[in-house]
Amino acid sequence: MELITPDFGLIFWQLLVFGILFFLLAKFAWKPIIQSLAEREQSIDEAIKLSETTRAEMAELKAGNEQLIASARAERDALIKQAKEASDAMIAQAKLDAQTAANQEIEKARVAFEQEKASAVAAIRKEAATLSLDLAEKVLKSQLKDKAAQEKLVTEWMADVKLS
């Protein structure tokens, strides 16, 4: 029975010592231990999270870079294409212009030639008329010795002249 009879003195000391022990340990041991354990865990957690976000950001950045490069390349290609088109168009235009100019020149030359030809024909006609008049005068001078013949002839000629 003695074994299971609590001793009054020991109850007193146990209460006292455990109380003091609890107070001192709680204040000087458990509080800093629990707090810094929680802090350390939090800082580790944060570091892991930070590394994850950094990794994601890096991947994003890399993808962005690639996208940027691709778009730059596309833009360059487009520029080259555009330039080529522009130059082609310019060449075509120049060719067309040259053609037109040449055609105009040719046309001008032809017109001038036609004018020259017409004036030359007119000059030749005039010369021929003068020549034929001179010739006819000489012929007439020799043939028209009598008046009748002369008149008859003049009439005929006049008719001819009218016809022509």
Partner: protein
């Protein structure tokens, strides 16, 4: 339910525990007889002692394992380490007694022994079976620093030195990896926090109970282990100590009881009204039964362990055969190692059960 998964996980140690408990009940039964025998023996002793010292010498040479074991697990007023022949390695401890007539008196326990190591009265007090009585029959309030109190103080100093030292290291560099003794205790502190407190009390409330749970855990564990040191006191196997621990657990649990906790006791939801006539008294008994079981469990387990070890060693002396040591020593070594495990498990179980009680008390309504 975390407690169920825990027991599923720990079923092996549970088997060991069960074995130990059955052992202990057996040994306790055996000791009841020993106590009865012991008292008659003691009466015979004192009679013989009064009659002739020579007769007493002859009487005391007969080995009585029951007396030896009870002497070892009981409290005493001096710290006895060992005896070789007539040399007693004993540390006398201060006796602090209060009586109505004489007031507070402080004196050394060595005053109760004469030069022949026989018990003598001192200053109107006698020491009988480890208890101080007044010769005039007055009631004596004994606040002595007994062996258990001395061991309690030693463990308190040990705990304070170790954990305040560790606490200082945490305060100085909180974000560094643990070092030395700090790294030995950190996993255990985290174990108490994560496996005991957080699992049973819940994420929301566990933090404010951490100082109490850690103190209880390390107090019980350290004192269990100090009790296993040869010459150590059987502090956690003392009913007064476990009584105080259980009373503190009782108050911590019930002062933190919320409405859900009290409704489950006085008006269990979801049962017919007439059932409450039976259920409520059962629940009210349960409030007191829980700390009572805590008290008995720790006391019985630790005392049983001591009894087993002492019984094993006593076998050699009972059979007066040194060759028996070949069998007894390895087996008591085995038991000692088991006791080391039990020292931890009992601290763990006490803390875990307290935290399940607290968990039930602080649980919030969520049906």
């Amino acid at each position: 339910m975390p407690i169920k998964t825990f027991f599923k996980k720990m079923y092996f140690s549970n088997i060991i525990l069960g074995l130990l408990l059955s052992f202990s009940s057996f040994s306790l039964l055996a000791n009841e007889e020993a106590v009865a025998h012991d008292t008659t023996q003691a009466h015979a002793d004192t009679a013989a002692h009064a009659a002739a010292p020579a007769a007493h010498e002859a009487e005391s040479t007969k080995f009585d394992p029951g007396k030896l074991i009870l002497h070892h697990i009981a409290d005493e007023h001096d710290w006895h380490f060992f005896t070789i022949g007539h040399f007693h390695a004993t540390l006398p401890l201060p006796c602090i007694v209060y009586t109505a007539s004489q007031g507070v008196q402080i004196f050394s326990s060595s005053n109760f022994k004469n030069e022949h190591h026989e018990e003598i009265p001192y200053n109107g007090f006698v020491l009988e079976h480890g208890k101080i009585h007044a010769e005039n029959g007055e009631k004596v309030y004994d606040f002595s620093i007994t062996k258990n109190v001395a061991s309690l103080l030693v463990s308190a100093v040990l705990l304070l030195t170790i954990f305040i030292g560790i606490g200082k290291r945490y305060k100085e560099n909180p974000h560094r990896a643990p070092k030395g003794i700090q790294s030995m205790f950190e996993p255990i502190i985290i174990f108490v926090r994560d496996e005991i407190a957080k699992n049973n009390i819940g994420e929301k409330h566990y933090r404010r109970f951490m100082p109490y749970l850690l103190t209880v855990f390390f107090f019980i564990w350290f004192n269990n282990m100090l009790g296993l040191v040869p010459g150590g006191a059987n502090l956690t196997g003392n009913i007064a100590v476990t009584l105080v621990l259980a009373i503190i657990a009782f108050f911590v649990t019930n002062f933190n009881g919320r409405s859900t906790y009290w409704t489950h006791i006085f008006a269990m939801p979801g049962v017919p009204k007439w059932m409450l006539v039976i259920l409520t008294p059962v629940e009210i008994v349960g409030i007191f039964m829980k700390p009572f079981s805590l008290m008995v469990r720790l006391f019985a387990n630790i005392t049983a362990g001591h009894i087993i070890l002492l019984s094993l060693v006593s076998l050699i002396f009972i059979f007066e055969n040194a060759a028996l040591g070949l069998a007894v020593v390895p087996f008591s070594l085995f038991m000692n190692v088991i006791e080391l495990i039990v020292a931890f498990i009992q601290a763990f179980i006490f803390t875990m059960l307290v935290s399940t009680y607290i968990g039930a008390a602080v649980e919030e309504h969520h049906h």
